[in-house]
Amino acid sequence: MGAPVTGPAAPARRRRPVRPARVVLGLVLLVVGVLMVAPLVWLIVQSLTAEKAAFSLPPGWLPRPFTLDNFAGIDGLIPFGRMALNSLQVSLISTVGSMLVGVLAGYAFSRLRFRGRQAILLVMLSALMVPVQTTVIPVFVLMRNLGLVDHLAAVWLPALINVFAVFFFRQYFNTIPRELDEAARIDGASHPWILFRIIVPLSGPAIAAMTILAFETSWNNYFGPLIFLSSPQHMTLPIGLVTLQAGQGGSSVVVFAAITAVVVPVMVVFLAFQRSFAASIASAGIRG
């Protein structure tokens, strides 16, 4: 691991005297990085280790003896596949739905004129200050009256409105030159055509950033599913994981296998879309 550290110092040596500070900085950050990932590496290694050897001291950093049996044990404890499908269903519906609703509303606020436009926008914006905990009790009562408690719809329905996305899209659409869609208007194009053929294609980065953020939020959501879902076959993965620790007689290695099975796909997706992830966070920075 010494190689990457000498790297930054080497070119500096040509111009100036050696910069030990830079080497120290590199080393410190290397240690920080290793410490950050260590628990995750430990998690994955234990989940791949045969039960009798797992959690040995000193901690093992290689899966010996290697096994995949722990993963086979998960389904005996929780309906993992069912929960994964539930998570996927909730995340896909709420993400696609909220993006569609957001794009339509963003277009209305950015391009169309109607009575009360500014007032409605202002009311929606001020709702960004209302935390989910304030609205969750009435929404729960509503869902109970609709008979939707313990149904996935209770989780994704409220997520269809993403006020932040509406505002974010409006801001982004405002930066797209109006001449573009005005020309199309003169040629007789309809508003839906303009939105989906001109505005949306020009808003790729904004839509990608929001989509990633919305999906990640929904996939990791714990509070909503905790309140609305109760039976195992209707639960999403985060809730399923936590019921697992509540003690169903499963061994710790199997719990680790389950956590790994939840975490690794997210890690892979993150590594693939790292740039967009960071961009989505940086743009989420607009939220106040």
Partner: protein, 312 residues
């Protein structure tokens, strides 16, 4: 992030140029595009918010008919020691989170920004941000094992270093600090990314000018970089505080009863227990309005603060 605050501010003003092409378009088109959002907003945001205010004036257990209580729930809040306890815990958590995130995030961003080695820089950025994309459920379960008194990873290595570790989550004086530490591990990547983005908006010309004028690294940092980053730092402070004030997931997962001696009971955890475990719906609604009040005050402070002492 510098643009963000100015953008945000223009939001409340009408755009300078009204869309000229809209002269011919009729009103209903606007409402048509807006209707899905508006309907969902009324049903799931605005309506429930008003309902929360109404519910806070009642005593209701969701089973028997609700009884009007006036401001009874609010006056009861004043004499509720557990609410004070949860508020105190939440402020301790939020302040610790605020300080560690701002200092840690800024130092890490400054450090990573100086790294010349691409591989190392990629590794550090990735590993810092990794935990943030993982759900709290997985993180909380994992850390219960990392801090396990008998075979935990951290327990073992601290033991090797000669540190006598407490029984983290079962010790009233260590339960909340443990969660503060885990939160730092999970969330620092977020602050780090925001700080890094802000740092990269500092114009190089300014830094070079300062250097030509003979400023050393520390002077450049204090007199150029940090003032130029003040919108970002301020924004990160607000976001971190708001997020921390709503802390719930790790507390509910790791210490389902609110910790030993209520040492980890947070306001939202308390609200959850009142509303969904003991079914005191009216009282829980009153507490939820308290959470809203704090959010509102902090957000308004952001507007006020970003105008007063943030460099633009």
């Amino acid at each position: 992030m510098t643009i963000s605050l100015t953008r945000r501010r223009t939001a409340s003003r009408p755009p300078a140029v009204q869309p000229s092409g809209s002269a011919g378009s009729r009103q209903w088109v606007g409402y048509a595009f807006l209707s899905p959002a508006l309907l969902l907003f009324v049903v799931f945001v605005a309506g429930p918010f008003v309902a929360a205010i109404v519910l806070s004036l009642y005593r209701w257990d969701m089973l028997t008919p609700a009884q009007f209580a006036g401001f009874g729930n609010f006056t009861a809040m004043f004499g509720d020691p557990l609410l004070y306890r949860s508020l105190a815990n939440t402020f301790v958590f939020a302040s610790a989170s605020l300080i560690t995130h701002l200092v840690g995030g800024l130092l890490l961003a400054l450090g990573v920004n100086r790294l010349k080695n691409k591989v190392l820089s990629y590794f550090v950025r990735t590993s810092l941000f990794f935990p943030f994309v993982i759900s709290w459920a997985a993180v909380a379960l994992l850390w219960k094992y990392v801090l396990d008194p008998s075979f935990g990873l951290l327990t073992y290595y601290l033991g090797r270093l000669g540190v006598d570790t407490p029984n983290w989550f079962n010790d009233p004086s260590w339960a909340l600090p443990s969660i503060i530490g885990i939160d730092f591990w999970h969330t620092i990547g977020f602050t780090f990314v925001i700080m890094l983005a802000g740092l990269q908006t500092v114009p190089n010309t300014l830094l070079e000018a300062a250097r030509l004028d003979g400023a050393n690294a520390r002077q450049t940092l204090w007199h150029v970089t940090i003032p130029m980053m003040s919108p970002t730092i301020f924004f990160a402070a607000v976001i971190t505080f708001l997020g921390a004030f709503q802390i719930f997931d790790p507390i509910q997962i790791i210490t389902p009863q609110g910790g030993p001696d209520n040492s980890t009971m947070s306001v939202v955890m308390y609200l959850y227990q009142k509303g969904f475990q003991s079914f005191q719906v009216g009282y829980a609604s009153a507490v939820s309005l308290l959470v809203f009040a704090v959010m509102m005050v902090v957000t308004l402070l952001q507007f006020w603060g970003s105008r007063r002492w943030v460099h633009q």
